[in-house]
Symmetry: C2
Subunit: 210 residues, 2 copies
DNA sequence: ATTTAAATACCAACTTATTGGTATTGTGTA
DNA sequence: TACACAATACCAATAAGTTGGTATTTAAAT
């Protein structure tokens, strides 16, 4: 067991106020030492090169390099660093994906700071912290609106403002294929326009950065 | 001059972590007493009915009732409450509008927490705090990409996923008129699809809540 | 009094998106 | 092996969005 003052925490979030907020919560509750912060994944990875970090708290919605990409890289390069993911949304599929990647915890931002404290303490004791998954375990239901990998890929390109034609060129696909995927996404999310598609997809956390 | 411990502050933000963050900054720097917080404008207005508040710190991007709408209501109903607006973006036109409405300060979230502290201190001394406007004063430039009130109104409806036809019905306009406004928005923001229009408009802070 | 800008409205040609189908291939699983 | 599903591709009809114009009215500013 590492003493609290020797438990090194790094934070990545593109909102400075949230960085400061987390930093304060960590300090006030003596959960560890914040050895640095970052506004995106690249900065966090740079930080990890120079400093010994036990826990990385990462926002999933960051520009440049989002939380999922960053988490994958960290697990690959620094398997000893525990990862706690913060997100605005409660997307069960995303949480499951992150758990498989190897992150230690997932917290929705709509939760109180108490949960952050609990999450850090739990991870510090080398346990996983996925309160949303546990809840889901009780009220288990097969989600029909799951999007496939390809659908998510195309969705993120649509969200960036690309047309079906442009996407088909970029992915070396037929325009028809892209339109089929688009259509299936719309059916699954029960919408009937591109804007609604993107709005709902963001709401449900299928698109990580706008 | 009100003593710090008697300076009552209310905070409105839909992110609990930011609420906690601001609360901590206020406490740690002994800037006042946080007498309550809210997740949207309605909650904040309810709070003001029951508690004496000297300063309301309001996030501009909130669901249900956004920061601008909330600020207007507060100025109307509680003209003695000072307002500090927080935003993710640096939209000079928005800041000017807020200043005219009567808010006392505007802070971009990309700024450090030092600025929040400075902002609260400045407003407490009954001065305005608009660091972005002051900067703008030096590098003054007439912005050609200003959107009109009507354009902003239509833009926000487009962002909600409504079609031109639906918008024309809702606003009792010809569909042609809506399409003209849409076209002019797209020209001004230099885009050529709805999704790009909404993306850029959000980036520039023309759309306050998604 | 003249100019400028916002808001309104219309037309036509063209491009994309949307809806509702069908169909094939490969992969992994019951 | 048979089944389910993801990924691919195609067709056709309809709806919506995009582009490039013109034009009128009203209100505010010079």
């Amino acid at each position: 067991m590492i003493a609290n003052q020797n438990y090194n925490i790094a934070i990545a979030d593109d909102h400075k106020l949230i960085l400061a907020g987390i930093r304060n919560i960590v300090l006030d509750n003596q959960l560890g030492t914040v050895v640095g912060d970052a506004s995106n994944g690249f900065q966090l990875l740079q930080l990890l090169q120079h400093k010994k970090v036990h826990l990385a708290i990462i926002d999933v919605n960051m520009p440049e390099m989002n939380g999922v990409q960053t988490a994958k890289k960290i697990v690959e390069l620094y398997p000893d660093v525990a990862i706690l993911i913060l997100s605005q949304y409660e997307n069960i599929e995303l949480i499951k994906e992150l758990k498989i990647i190897g992150v230690k915890g997932y917290l929705s931002k709509s939760f109180e700071s108490d949960q952050l404290i609990e999450g850090i303490k739990t991870i510090k004791e080398n346990c996983n912290y996925f309160p949303l998954l546990d809840r889901e375990h009780i009220t288990f239901k097969k989600d029909k609106t799951q999007l496939t990998t390809r659908e998510l890929e195309i969705l993120s390109l649509i969200a960036k403002g690309k047309t079906s034609k442009e996407i088909s060129c970029q992915l070396f696909l037929s325009q028809y294929t892209v339109e089929t995927h688009r259509k299936n996404c719309m059916r699954k999310l029960e919408v009937n326009s591109t804007i609604q598609l993107i709005n709902v997809a963001k709401d449900k956390g299928y698109i990580l950065y706008e």
